[in-house]
């Protein structure tokens, strides 16, 4: 009863507020037009410099209100404003089609919208008197109007998507190039160098075998040690590129193997039927592995829980620990690397980590799972 009354009073308040705003918007519209008209005179440019940012705030306020009213999110899709002097920024704003859509809305809002808002005042006052009067009415239409005019156009949405893709592609290319450089260096300084030493030792042993068998035996033992070390280094390298167990058993098996090989108490809970596409599997595995490395390095945790779940075309991965918390996605942190890795597949990363813990790293990757034909039987033995 009290709630109902409160809600209906709120309607009146909103109707009045929006009516006032519609009038103010009309004033802003006139000032803006004047600014455009006298843009060649000195006062025109400063007028626009004030009006456009004001208009954006104003439009954002209405987007927020209408979004809440309709239960949807109405995103703004302005182009990113360049840094630099105010003239450059104004020029970028003027060239942004979204700005002119705002102006159009401002006009409609000040005319047709104003009529709707006045109707809403009448309606909401009636609503106070007669309780059977429906609550959704003119304000609802006004919200639809805002949604229609202030939602980003198809073109703007595509443009921002292209921007996103270009960024993530650049990051992927960068990190891949860095990865290949690292592998090249590791091979060059590691296995390759050891194989050279091995060949040298074998050559010297061959020379010495008749004259000095004692030395030959020593050289052969050294050669053997060098080949063991080369193998160990190659193993480490292969694990970093694509762990064999991932190829063998897929994501779940590989994460279980990782949990077993990590000196921490780790529970793995998994529900991922079938196999994921190889690149996605690899990205997901390394994301989890990186999150786990972060836990070991920074959290001081005793217990870690890993959850893997594939549902509705999205792979959800959660790594939780009982450590000290305070993790952030900063530059140079492992979490930033995970974000980049997942970004290449339109995945996302969220971190909740209050000081004192616990920390949850929540990762999502949109992907399809294949039929479970290649997945091995898990109940071996």
């Amino acid at each position: 009863m009290v709630n109902e009354l409160g809600e209906r009073l709120k309607l009146v308040w909103w109707a009045v507020l929006l009516t006032m705003f519609a009038c103010l918007g009309l004033v802003l519209f006139c000032v803006l037009l004047t600014g455009v008209a006298v843009v060649l005179v000195s006062v025109g440019i400063p007028m626009l410099m004030v009006c456009f940012p004001l208009l954006r705030r104003f439009a954002d306020f209405h987007r927020h209100w209408a979004g809440k009213w309709l239960g949807v999110t109405i995103p703004a899709s302005y182009r990113p404003r360049p840094k630099g002097n105010p003239f450059v920024r104004l020029w970028a704003t003027v060239r942004d089609p979204a700005s002119w859509r705002d102006v159009l809305w401002l006009f409609v809002n000040g005319t047709f919208g104003l009529v709707l808002c006045i109707a809403a005042i009448v309606e909401s006052v009636l609503g106070l008197l007669f309780w059977w009067w429906p609550k959704k009415g003119a304000l609802y239409l006004d919200a639809l109007l805002v949604k229609w005019l202030l939602s980003p156009s198809e073109k703007a949405l595509l443009a921002s998507r292209v921007q996103e893709l270009a960024e993530s592609r650049a990051e992927t290319v960068d990190s891949q190039a860095a990865e290949i450089r690292r592998i090249e260096r590791d091979l060059h300084d590691g296995a390759q160098a050891r194989l050279v030493a091995l060949g040298m030792n074998l050559g010297m042993a061959a020379d010495a075998v008749d004259t000095d068998p004692q030395t030959a035996r020593l050289l052969l033992a050294e050669a053997q040690a060098a080949s063991s070390q080369a193998l160990a280094e190659l193993r480490g390298l292969v694990r970093g590129i694509h762990p064999p167990v991932l190829a063998d058993r897929g994501l779940v098996g590989a994460v279980q193997a990782l949990a077993l090989a990590t000196p921490l108490a780790i529970d793995v809970e998994a529900d991922v039927p079938g196999r994921l596409a190889a690149p996605v599997e690899s990205a997901a595995y390394f994301a989890v592995a990186e999150a786990l490395t972060n836990v070991i390095k920074h959290s001081g945790a005793h217990h870690v829980g890993i959850t893997l779940r594939h549902a509705h075309g999205v792979l959800h991965m959660v790594v939780e620990d009982d450590g000290r918390g305070g993790a952030t996605i900063g530059a140079g942190s492992g979490l930033r690397g995970i974000e980049r890795r997942l970004g290449a597949f339109d995945g996302s990363l969220k971190v909740t980590s209050p000081p004192g813990g616990p920390t949850s790293v929540i990762m999502e990757l949109p992907c399809e799972s294949s039929s479970p034909k290649t997945s091995p039987s898990s109940g071996t033995g």
């Binding site: 193998l231 064999p244 167990v245 190829a247 279980q256 077993l260 290649t374 071996t380 033995g381």
Partner: protein, 215 residues
């Protein structure tokens, strides 16, 4: 002693055949893929099988799955699995039936011919041969557990050698101590870990591995 060998790289397969035959093993069949391996194991019922984990046609863990299937049909069939890398997960699966006669070694261990041949014989006799890398990972994982932390450094050395599947005599030789000293250490280890004592070497090793695997 009759051996079935599975290795898909011809170079390694020939090397292993030569190595085994030079040490008085008879290689009854050498195969290069998973399905042939399963067939060879069930028809020849060899004294021991030496198997590479990764085999055609899938080039995944075909070899491992074939031996686990074969052991389901022929319980206790001795198998020594070789691999370029070791995974706790696979060691655990091989040990899951707790019947022994299991080996899991890195391929590099073949370099030391004497030790490798010993390992093959040990597995054929129903013993266990686990790669030191598997055991050291297991021990690292359990290092913070109360009973393991209570062990002396020497006892920990004995524990890891025992978990690799070595006999008391071999441990004594490795650590330059007497066999009597080794059995004193093993008694103390079993008491601290709360494991039942056993005269049988193989069963002792399996108990230690089960403990370290946390099962």
């Amino acid at each position: 002693m009759r051996v079935v060998l599975a290795e898909d790289l011809a170079l390694l397969r020939d090397g292993l055949i030569r190595l085994l035959e030079a040490n008085d093993f008879e290689v009854v069949e050498a195969v290069d893929n998973g399905p042939s391996l399963l067939r060879a194991l069930t028809t020849h019922r060899p004294d021991v099988a030496v198997v590479d984990v990764r085999l055609p046609p899938t080039f995944t863990d075909e070899g491992l799955r074939a031996v686990i299937d074969a052991r389901a049909q022929i319980p206790g069939l001795p198998v020594l699995v070789l691999s370029q890398y070791v995974e706790q997960l696979y060691a655990r699966e091989l040990l899951a039936d707790r019947t022994g006669g299991v080996g899991y070694l890195l391929k590099d261990r073949v370099f030391n011919v004497g030790q490798f041949v010993d390992a093959v014989r040990q597995v054929a006799a129903g013993g266990t041969a686990m790669d030191p890398e598997v055991i050291s990972q297991l021990l690292t994982k359990r290092a913070d557990d109360e009973p393991v932390r209570a062990l002396t450094p020497r006892e920990r050395e004995v524990l890891s050698l025992m978990a690799e599947g070595r006999s008391n005599a071999a441990i004594a030789g490795r650590l330059f101590i007497t066999e009597k000293a080794v059995s004193k250490h093993t008694n103390s280890i079993f008491m601290r870990l709360g494991l039942p004592q056993s005269e049988d070497d193989n069963r002792r090793v399996l108990a230690v591995l089960a403990y370290l695997n946390g099962s």
